[in-house]
Amino acid sequence: MPPFLFTLAPERKPVILLEDCVVVRGHKEVLKSVSWQVGAGDLVVINGAAGSGKSTLIKLLAGIVSANSGRVEVLGKVPGATSDTERTKFRRELGLLLPELDLMDDANCLENAVLPLRIAGASSADWHARGMKTLLDFELGHLALQRPEALSPGEQARLRLARALIHRPALVLADEPFAQTDAGSLQVMKARLALAAAEGTTVVLAGAELRDEIAGARHFRLSEGRLL
């Protein structure tokens, strides 16, 4: 059994469990023997320089990339090794905030925010109501019918986070969530993430320089594929 960087109390079931995980891309070991546990409602921040493996770690947890060796369990499942139905169900329990997942430029802000609800089959009345409430929570209510192109970078970042949180996921995985964000948006986003964690959502944030204080956050450092 490899040493865990952080071990949960025995009574807490881990939401994320990595044991000796290795991910190789090409000839490079992007993640080197990572062992890690994160419990429900934890808010963790992973700092690291560009190329340190943060995005790979987030994608590993999301089931977008697979580990070459080691054990990966997220929300009690092995992300990459499930059937179509289980994979769909697993993804609906996640709140993803990745640079690759941009906003839909041919949909308005409300439609962008409620996408996870609509994909999960929520009724029109339900997604309209929850969508407007969420946009108001993120101070975007007045922009509900605007296209994302009309928003500032900070507003777009808030909208992406609103989309990641609207369906109350069990786990939020965010890669560089605060890039190009103004101070006002940063405050709103941190507050919403802290609130989500307080309500039981596990939040994992990865970024180059996430040194700012987020209430209740535990900080880790990823350096050359090793979690420190």
Binding site: A62, F90, L96, D102, M104, D106, I119
Partner: protein, 270 residues
């Protein structure tokens, strides 16, 4: 379902030129069966009007009426007239001279049903003649057989173009339409990746592809109709009645959507 429908429509709106090209290619492919039957742009050669006369047995007024009614129901019959023995006698005398008036009486002539048949090929012509020569009340079927045989193609042959070429053109059009539709779909690959990673099920992605296929099918069917009306040929109207062209367009559109990229491929790209 509404999300799938909405996304299919937005996908087509996202690439209007490729969308139009897909529809035109599908409509072109759907025209091939019509071409193969000798239609479109070659109507005169494909369906020449062959003059026909049915000589009727004397005293068969009921039979004559039923023959005329049956012929009127066929849309390939034109200029249908009935001539009594007296009318026929007058025609003959007008041609040969009144000097024969004393020799020829009405009883020497049969009643006649005269019309023009738009036949597409020899087999159709001969089948028609053989069928009616056996009809009750019809004594003889008269038509310029030799001229007709020279003007009409053999059964199944296309006067306009070789059939194999037509099917190759149809197949090529269908493949190109499929590839265009695939390009339309892939132009929104970022959106599809977003959908998949947010938990969109393979079933919902299937419905998006199905709706895409249906949209282009219906549009191709409309283009097919408009082009058929523009051609204004009897064959087009016959096809319209049968709905064959429309069904063909829809079938081609739906099968063209098989060229679309599946969920697995989109995931692998991620």
């Amino acid at each position: 379902m509404s999300l799938a429908l909405q996304q299919a429509w937005r996908t087509l709106r996202h690439s209007p030129l490729a969308f139009v090209l897909t529809v035109v290619l599908l409509a072109a492919a759907a025209f091939v069966p019509w071409f193969a039957r000798g239609g479109f742009g070659n109507q005169q050669e494909a369906a020449p009007e062959i003059p026909f006369e049915f000589e009727l047995a004397s005293g068969h007024v009921t039979a004559r009426d039923s023959i005329v009614n049956a012929l009127r129901k066929l849309n390939k019959i034109q200029d249908l007239v009935t001539l009594s023995p007296g009318d026929v006698r007058r025609e003959v005398l007008a041609e040969l001279g009144d000097s024969l008036a004393d020799i020829l009486s009405e009883r020497d002539f049969p009643a006649i049903v005269r019309f023009k048949l738009a036949a597409r090929n020899v087999a159709e012509l001969q089948t028609f003649a053989a069928k009616w020569s056996r009809a009750p009340g019809v004594v003889r079927v008269v038509y310029p057989e030799e001229i007709a045989l020279n003007r009409l193609p053999e059964a199944g042959a296309s006067p306009a173009m070789d059939r194999t070429k037509l099917w190759v053109i149809a197949g090529t059009s269908w493949v190109l339409a499929g590839l265009c539709l695939r390009a339309v779909f892939l132009r929104r690959r970022a959106t599809w990746r977003l959908f998949i990673w947010l938990g969109c099920s393979p079933a919902m992605m299937f419905f998006v592809r199905l709706w895409l296929g249906l949209f282009v099918s219906v549009c191709a069917a409309v283009v097919w109709c408009l082009a058929s009306f523009a051609a204004r040929s009897p064959m087009a109207i016959e096809y319209m009645e049968l709905g064959t062209g429309l069904l063909w367009a829809v079938l081609l559109g739906l099968t063209a959507s098989l060229w679309l990229v599946g969920t697995g491929r989109l995931e692998a790209e991620g």
